[in-house]
Symmetry: C2
Subunit: 393 residues, 2 copies
C-alpha cells in the first residue's frame, strides 16, 4: 500500500471541435505526453481508468479501444461516469487503486467527443443527467434551465445582477485567451455577454460553457515509484458528495449540498481550516458550466461567506493577485467542457500551476503549495472536490 | 487503511422481465435486504458505487436516483461500466475504496433494466460493446455472432459438438430451476436446446443468455467494522484484464487473453497454485453469456488443461460433486444476465455458497472455503476475476 499518491505526468489535447480525429486519436493526444512527461511506458501501467460520460459516442468500449490503439492490453481497465464529474471520479478510482496497494502506476484518461452525437440532440442527452423522466420529458427542462433556476434564486436572495454573472465570463475568457489548449481564445467584455441571445433567463449564450471535444490524462504513481521525482505533486485529499436527482426535493437553490459536503470533507482530510480555507490555497478550478454556478461554487468551497460570492467577482478577487485565483485556465466557460475530460483537465491545471508551468499571463503565485479542484455532475447530482499539494525537494 | 475487505451483507432482486417496477424500485429490492443482512443503515454507508451499463435506461444519473429513493445523500457515489463486467468492476471500486482507507462501509449495487430500452434495438446497443463502427456497422456483427466465432473455433480445434454446448445449458437450467431468483426456473434436456431455432450457428436460442431486468447488492466493510461478524467472507484477491476492441486483432478464438491474464493475477495474489487451482476452490461462477464461453472459461480459469474443457462438461465435472461446481445458481444462461448486475450477483452467490446458505439442491460442499467469480465484458474486452474466502470463527 502507498500512503500517498502523486501525479507524475500530464497530457492535454486541444479542446474544441475536433472532427479531425476519432476517439482513440483524440485520447492519444493526451496519453502520449502524459507517458512522456512521466517517463514511463505502456508496460509500466498497472491499471487504467477512463472518465467518459459516453452517451455522445457510439463507441461504448472506450477503455478497450484504448487498449488497442494505445497498446495497453492486457492491463485491467474500466470506465467511470458521474455525469460532468466523471473525470474527477476517474481520478478517485486511480487514486484508491494505488493507495490500496493494487497498483503502482495508473493512467487516468478523461475524454469526450460531443460534437458528433449519434443521438438526435445533444440537449436531450445532457438532460438525461437530471431526473430525466420527470423533469425533462414532463417539463422540457434542459440544463441551461436547471442552472438558470439557481441563477435566479441567487439574484433574488443576494441581489446579484446579469452584469455580475457576465463578469465571470469576462474573467474566464481573459484567461482562456492565454491558454493554448482552450476552445475559445478571445477576450470578451461585459457587453459581449449582455448582448448575446438569451438561452434561459438570466443566462445568455456567453453565460454558458460550450459543447466540446477533448481529452486530458494524468499518470498517478505510488510513493515508492515517485520517490525520484524532483518536485512532487500529491493528491492530498478528496471529498465526494451525491445530491437528490429530483430538483423538487431541494430546499435551496443558492447552494449545491453535494458540493458543500464534498468541499468540507476534502478540507477536513487535508487538515485545512474550514473558516478561511482560501488562505491555505494558491488557487482553484471550479465547475463553471454556467456563470452563476461559479459564484455559488465560491461559497460552497468557502472562499467567502454565503451571499458574498458575488462580491468576489465584482472586486476581481478571483483574478491572479486577488483573494484566490479561480479558473485561470479559462474554466469550462472558455477552455471548453468535454464532459468526461473536465475533471482530469482540472488536475492537469493543478499540476501545472503548482509547478509554475502555466503559460505566460496565467501563472498564479505559488506560496502555499495547494490547489483545489471542484467538479460537479448534473446540478450537484455528484460533486468531487480534490486538493493537490506541492512538495519541493 | 484496512488490509482486508469483507462482504457483510447481500441482496438480490428476482431476475426476469420486471416491468412491474421502475429502476429505483428494482434497486431497492436488492439494497434493502443488503442493508438488513449487514445490520447497517443508510447513514453508515460512507460511499456507494453502481455497476450499470446504462444505455438501456434513459435515466443516466442512477447513483443520484438511488441517493434520493434509497436515502443515501449526501454520501459520495459513482457509476462504473466495463460492459457486461460492470458489476465486478463496481466491486473493485468498493474494495479499493475501503482498502485505501477512504471508507469503512461501501454499498455496491449492480443493476440493469434491459426490457425497456429507449433505443430502437437491444441488439444494436449490445453491439456497441464491441468495436462498434468497424464490426457492427460495417459487417453487422452482433454478440451472438461474436461468440459464435469462438464457438466454431473451439469446435474446429478440439472437436466439441453442438451437443456438448447444449450440455452447458442443461446444467445451468438444472440449477436455475432451484434458484428462486432465477429468470428461468424450468429444467430442459439436450433436445430442448438442439431443437430450438438457430441464432448464430452453432448457437441456438437455448445456447444464449436472455435479456434480463435485475439488481444485486453487497455491503463491503473494513476489517475493523467486520470484526464482530461471525463467519466472515473476505475478498481474497482480484485480477483484471483488458483485451483488444477489434476482433481482427486477435490471434486465437479459443481463449480470451484478458480472462487468462485476470485469472492468473487473481490466483497469484491469493497464493493459489496455478497448476491445479480448482483444488483450492469449492466452486465458481463463470460468464456463460453463451454456452461455449462457459467451456472456454473453464480453460481460461485453469480448471483443466487447454482443450479439456469440453471433457469437463461431458463428464459432468462441473455439477455438484464433480471436480468443481460451476454456475450452480443457473449462471447467466438460466438465472439471467442483467448486464450491470451480473458481477454483483456472482458475489452474492459466492457469499451464499461459502456460508452454506444456498437453496436446497444447489449447495456445494464447502471444504476449501474459496469461491471464484469470472465476469467478462464484451468478448473479453474486459475481464474481472475475484476470489472470495471464508474465515470461520
Amino acid at each position: 500500500m502507498s500512503e500517498n499518491v502523486a501525479i507524475i505526468g500530464i497530457g492535454h489535447s486541444k479542446f474544441g471541435t475536433r472532427k479531425d480525429v476519432n476517439l482513440p486519436e483524440l485520447a492519444w493526444e493526451a496519453i502520449k505526453p502524459a507517458l512522456d512527461s512521466a517517463n514511463v511506458e505502456q508496460k509500466d501501467i498497472d491499471f487504467y481508468v477512463v472518465g467518459n460520460a459516453g452517451m455522445w459516442s457510439s463507441e461504448a468500449a472506450v477503455p478497450s479501444l484504448m487498449a488497442e490503439y494505445a497498446d495497453l492490453a492486457p492491463k485491467g481497465s474500466m470506465r467511470v461516469e458521474a455525469a460532468c464529474a466523471s473525470g474527477n471520479a476517474a481520478i478517485r478510482v486511480g487514486y484508491t487503486a494505488i493507495k490500496s496497494g493494487g497498483a503502482d502506476i495508473v493512467l487516468v484518461l478523461g475524454i469526450e467527443k460531443m460534437q458528433e452525437s449519434p443521438n438526435p440532440t445533444i440537449i436531450e442527452l445532457i438532460g438525461r443527467f437530471g431526473s430525466y423522466f420527470w423533469e425533462f420529458e414532463n417539463f422540457g427542462l434542459t440544463f441551461p434551465g436547471y442552472y438558470a433556476m439557481y441563477g435566479t434564486a441567487y439574484m433574488a436572495k443576494y441581489g446579484a445582477t446579469e452584469e455580475d454573472y457576465a463578469k465571470v465570463a469576462v474573467k474566464n475568457h481573459y484567461y482562456g485567451a492565454k491558454n493554448p489548449y482552450a476552445q475559445f481564445r478571445k477576450e470578451i467584455d461585459i457587453d459581449t455577454v449582455l448582448k448575446s441571445p438569451y438561452i434561459a433567463w438570466p443566462f445568455k449564450l456567453f453565460d454558458c460553457s460550450p459543447i466540446t471535444d477533448g481529452a486530458a490524462a494524468v499518470i498517478l504513481a505510488s510513493e515508492e515509484f515517485a520517490k525520484d521525482v524532483e518536485d512532487k505533486i500529491w493528491i492530498l485529499s478528496q471529498g465526494v458528495g451525491t445530491g437528490t436527482a429530483n430538483l423538487s426535493r431541494r430546499d435551496d437553490f443558492t447552494t449545491l449540498p453535494s458540493a458543500s459536503y464534498a468541499a468540507e470533507q476534502a478540507y477536513k482530510k487535508a487538515g485545512i481550516d474550514l473558516d478561511a480555507p482560501w488562505k491555505y490555497l494558491d488557487g482553484a478550478n471550479v465547475h463553471d458550466c454556467f456563470t452563476a454556478p461559479e459564484i455559488i461554487a465560491y461559497e460552497d468551497c468557502r472562499f467567502c461567506k454565503r451571499g458574498e460570492g458575488v462580491e468576489l467577482i465584482r472586486e476581481e478577487q478571483t483574478y491572479i493577485g486577488g483573494r484566490i485565483p479561480v479558473n485561470i485556465d479559462g474554466g469550462l466557460k472558455a477552455k471548453g467542457h468535454p464532459i468526461g475530460a473536465t475533471g482530469v483537465s482540472q488536475a492537469v491545471e493543478a499540476y501545472k500551476q503548482l509547478l509554475s508551468q502555466a503559460e505566460k499571463g496565467r501563472q498564479a503565485d505559488i506560496k502555499n503549495g495547494r490547489w483545489l479542484t471542484h467538479n460537479v455532475g448534473g446540478t450537484g447530482h455528484f460533486t468531487y472536490v480534490t486538493i493537490y499539494g506541492l512538495e519541493k525537494r
